[in-house]
């Protein structure tokens, strides 16, 4: 039977199953295959906080969405074109996200009485498919006994039925790989490695994977396969990378580029733990990882290591930042380099551990006692976490200050193709340790002595010298009590405190001198509306702006890497636009800062549902604002002429 091949420019697939069904692995492998094939892609893993929620229930559903395309894309997609549902709960939990006409591939094996009840189905939704009144009537449904065929395919390996059935995710992966013309070699190599020590499991998984592929090729259930051509990308070598991995590599690179040993003090917390796991593998780079007894000890050890001449790093999520606040204040006062990585998750309190949010911005900005300014940087995409980590290290080391890096759950676990940077392009960071006494003190009798003054500042950066133990003649004491300017001895002098408070703020403000001008994306130069964002909303904002432009309207976009201090040209840029829209996954934290600093009537677009903002919905909001600003009616239906022009 010859099968039809259809060309598509992009597809969004969501794999959904029970927490134990291996959906994250399935999605990850499909992503790797797509990456190697050369598609642009963005992924969105979505899983419950429970390791194994009760089997077959709605809370136990884990999913992985991958959006891949023959062109440059920015988000994991608003709505899946294809849903692979491994059980009734997975179908039910995800059905609401599907647009009319979506394809559903469903494993019929678990659509039995008990499982249907667990998922809350009174009747089997697969009954009466194709007949009027079917609850799935709006979709193209392919009921396939994936589990049954998997068990049959791997019979020869003599596995228990349970173990055999576990390979069903690979059968599904094989089927989807066929359907979208994915190269399968990398998955076979992966399975060979992953299960190298258990031959029968290895062989069963590979066999199931191939059987899934062959099933697609031969069955009459699927008559069409699809081709999504590689996306044009700028020249270079690429790999697919998640935010947490890119961030870890960025920290390793910061150590190499500064010549400092990296010291991570950390306490496990979702969704930041993977950074601890990853860095613990890189001891050959001189990276020390200390799994501390608590969040406070993690940052404490990092501060100690920084005092001793390492690049101290602590990684956590929002609740951990709350615990570390006092220690971060100590690093502000002692003016030691320190990287504080906050992989934000839904809050407050324990909140939504596995879901994403951007609601720690104000905590990063203000969450300490006293006037305790801390520079803040934020990556905008998974791959960007690499350079954000290097930038945070540059600021921390150059300015002798703790720096907050705000990633989030979406960046941490999401992935995208990442052009591997040339090492020659990476910044070189000079720790510039103090080695000499820096102050000549003249006594009353005129005798001069050389002293080391730990708070005698660099005139340009206002950074204090960093003298590490072992340096003779520079013995000194620092601490959390207020320091006298210059000599650094304890000082309760009112004027000195006022001066030091202002100086610490001025030092952080000076960082703005080292920042490049902002990039304003305003292709027509005629926009009245500016969309300002930070962090992981870069993708949805970019995609939303594209939709607006494709419909023939003007909109500008600026995305902030630096949240404290703001780049020097931000105020001037804001003043150029009539309306400023600030989309955030919080209730308006950047808006508050922008309003406070620039007296600009920033308008919030706020969503805190634990999921990335949807580009289509955001585009509507942008469109409404464009309509208001320009006094026109906005219809976001793509305009072919504008679409051509916007390319």
């Amino acid at each position: 039977m010859s099968k039809q091949v259809k060309q598509l420019d992009r597809v969004i697939i969501r794999f959904a199953g029970d927490s134990g069904d291996g959906m994250q692995l399935t999605g990850d492998r499909f992503t790797q295959e797509s990456a190697v094939f050369g598609n642009d892609l963005v992924t969105l893993p979505n899983f419950p906080a429970e390791i194994r929620a009760p089997q077959g229930t709605l809370p136990g559903v884990s999913s992985f969405q991958v959006h891949f395309a023959d062109h440059d894309i920015l988000t994991a997609g608003d709505a899946p074109d294809v849903l692979v549902a491994m059980n009734p709960a997975a179908l039910k939990a995800n059905l609401g996200d599907l647009p009319k006409g979506a394809t559903i591939i469903v494993d019929t094996h678990d659509f039995t009485g008990r499982n249907l009840i667990k998922a809350g189905y009174a009747d089997n939704p697969l009954d009466g498919l194709g007949e009027p009144g079917s609850p799935l009537g709006e979709f193209f449904v392919h009921p396939v006994d994936l589990t049954g065929m998997t068990v049959e395919a791997v019979k020869e390996f003599g596995l228990s039925r349970k173990d055999a059935a576990r390979a069903k995710n690979m059968f599904a992966l094989g089927l989807l790989s066929w359907m979208y013309g994915r190269p399968i070699e990398s998955t076979i190599t992966f399975l060979e490695k992953r299960f190298a020590k258990v031959a029968d499991i290895r062989d069963a998984n590979i066999t199931a994977f191939k059987a899934g592929w062959n099933f697609g090729e031969t069955t009459e259930t699927f008559v069409v396969s699809y081709e999504i051509k590689p996306a044009p990308m700028s020249a270079g070598t690429y790999r697919n990378i998640t935010g947490n991995l890119a961030l870890s590599y960025g920290l390793v690179a910061a150590g190499v580029q500064s010549g400092l040993p990296v010291f991570l003090g950390s306490y496990p917390i979702t969704p930041a733990s993977d950074i601890l796991h990853e860095l613990s593998k890189h001891k050959a780079f001189g990276v020390t990882t200390l799994q501390a007894e608590d969040e406070i000890a993690g940052v404490g050890a990092a501060i100690g290591a920084s005092f001793a001449g390492s690049l101290g790093v602590t990684t956590t999520s929002g609740p951990g930042i709350a615990l570390k606040s006092e220690a971060i204040g100590l690093a502000v006062m002692t003016e030691l380099p320190l990287l504080v990585i906050d992989v934000q998750r839904g809050g407050p309190s324990t909140g939504l551990p596995t879901k994403t949010e951007q609601a720690d911005l104000l905590q990063a900005m203000f969450g300490r006692n006293g006037e305790a300014p801390v520079p803040i940087v934020a990556p905008q995409s998974p791959g960007d976490c690499f350079s954000a980590a290097l930038e945070a290290a540059r600021i921390a080391i150059t300015y002798r200050t703790p720096v907050m890096l705000l990633s989030d759950g979406y960046l941490a676990n999401g992935s995208e193709p990442w052009r591997i940077p040339e090492l020659a392009d990476l910044p070189v960071i000079d720790p510039n340790f103090a080695t000499e006494r820096n102050k000549t003190v003249v006594a009353k009798d005129g005798t001069e002595t050389e002293e080391y003054w730990p708070y005698l500042r660099d005139e340009e950066t206002l950074a204090r010298p960093w003298a590490i133990p072992g340096t003779p003649g520079l013995e000194h004491r620092i601490g959390g009590l207020e320091k006298g300017e210059g000599h650094g001895n304890i000082s309760y002098d009112p004027a000195n405190h006022d001066f030091m408070v202002r100086t610490r703020q001025a030092k952080v403000d000076r960082i703005a001198d080292s920042l490049p001008p902002l990039v304003v994306d305003d292709p027509s130069g005629e926009a009245n509306v500016l969309v300002l964002g930070w962090g992981s909303t870069y993708g949805p904002i970019g995609a939303g702006c594209r939709r607006v432009r494709k419909a023939g309207y003007h909109v500008a976009q600026v995305h902030l890497r630096h949240l404290n201090p703001f780049p020097k040209d931000l105020g001037e840029i804001l003043s150029r636009y009539d309306k400023v829209l600030v989309p955030e996954m919080n209730l308006g934290q950047l808006s508050l800062l922008i309003r406070g600093k620039y007296l600009v009537d920033a308008i919030g677009y706020n969503q805190v549902n634990g999921m990335p903002i949807k580009a289509a919905e955001l585009a509507e909001a942008i469109g409404n604002l464009v309509a208001e600003a320009e006094g026109v009616t906005v219809d976001l239906t793509p305009d072919p002429i504008a679409e051509e022009a916007s390319k």
Partner: protein
């Protein structure tokens, strides 16, 4: 004088073995910073400071390779008065900061100065985990059994029923015994000494510095303002013979006037008890073995400390055993990983970030 030679047992390495030494004679004055000492008149902290300033030169280390870290409290001002590297940090966290310093650098002699509130109340977690990990550092816990800097509230070592500003009807908390706690956390070096006994204090500090791993030294220290007389029984010449149970490795544990009392095992409780030597004969008296890998007997001895007003307490080194240290282990893992990965870091970085499944666009 080299502390390595003073190691009383065939040890792994001295606590200061990797710290650069100074071949020039040093004086206490060199270790004295230019900062005015601001403890209350009569505070026991002065005596400890003097003893430390006098003792540090004897270590023969390079001054720049010594780091003192403290938390918050009266005693935590200590680092400001010593001309070494130092950090006066935040409440209770000194052990965690010192853990970072000691793990990052093998060439430093790291000291923590803390008090009963700092170490046992707000920082209790860090203390037990430092002891568990056995990071190479020396923790000096100044125990005055009261909160001084916050002006006189009861502390986690105050006797139950203590009337203070925050407990006008008497405190309800049962106190910690710091030595029992440290032994429970499997501290590898656990000792107790007294601020006013400079000779004993110095001897214990020497042994603590020489020990590789976390050395825990509880120092009974009098607060003349808020808890004066808390240790009178062991300081008063008339009573101290009966109050101090001296622990000396290899010697029978005897005390009292002319050693009339001693310790024997108590078959009833499984612990130890005080007896008249005349009643049991000198051979029955327990011989102190600080090097016993099993902490059970040391713990039993630690229980002889009064939890109420202090009329009796064992003083000396309870436990001194070898155990791998966290920081040495962490550095060894790095060395092993480095040996297995030859080449320049920059090349290895290129290989790392360029690894995995890659594809090239031309």
């Amino acid at each position: 004088m080299s502390t390595t030679e003073k190691l009383p047992f065939p040890g792994l390495r001295s606590g200061v073995e990797l710290v650069p030494t100074n071949d020039q004679p040093q004086t206490g004055k060199e270790y004295t910073s230019d900062q005015e000492v601001r403890w209350c008149p009569g505070c026991g902290d002065y005596a400890v400071l003097k003893a430390v300033q006098g003792f540090l030169p004897e270590l023969g280390l390079r001054r720049e390779n010594i780091v003192f870290v403290s938390g918050i409290g009266c005693s935590s001002r200590f680092p400001y008065y010593l001309d070494t590297y130092g950090m006066h940090s935040i409440h209770g966290r000194a052990p965690s900061i010192a853990t970072g310093i000691a793990t990052a650098r093998e060439d430093l002699s790291v000291w923590v100065v803390t008090g009963d509130g700092d170490a046992l109340s707000i920082g209790g977690n860090h203390l037990i985990h430092a002891l568990r990990r056995n990071v190479n550092m020396t923790i000096l816990l100044f125990n005055n059994r009261i909160y001084g800097l916050t002006k006189g509230q009861y502390s986690p070592t105050s006797e139950a029923g203590k009337i203070t500003k925050s407990t006008p009807m008497g405190s309800l908390d049962h106190p910690f015994n710091p030595v029992s706690l440290a032994l429970g956390a499997e501290g590898s070096f656990v000792a107790r000494t007294i601020d006013s006994d400079r000779k004993h204090l110095t001897a214990v500090l020497s042994a603590a510095a020489a020990h590789r791993g976390t050395s825990f030294v509880e120092i009974y220290q009098n607060c003349p303002i808020f808890n004066d007389g808390a240790f009178d029984a062991i300081k008063n010449n008339d009573t101290k013979a009966d109050a101090i149970i001296p622990l000396v490795h290899g010697e029978p544990i005897r005390f009292g006037v002319e050693g009339s009392k001693g310790l024997i095992r108590d078959s009833e409780t499984g612990g130890v008890k005080v007896v008249e030597v005349a009643d049991v004969g000198p051979d029955a008296i327990l011989v102190h073995n600080a090097y016993n890998p099993d902490p059970t007997t040391a713990f039993a001895i630690s229980r002889l400390t009064d939890s109420g007003y202090l009329n009796q307490s064992p003083i000396g080194i309870f436990r001194q055993v070898e155990r791998p240290t966290y920081d040495d282990g962490a550095r060894a893992q790095i060395a092993t990983a480095r040996d297995a990965a030859p080449g320049e870091p920059i090349d290895r970085l290129a290989a790392l970030i360029g690894g995995g499944d890659t594809w090239t666009v031309v």
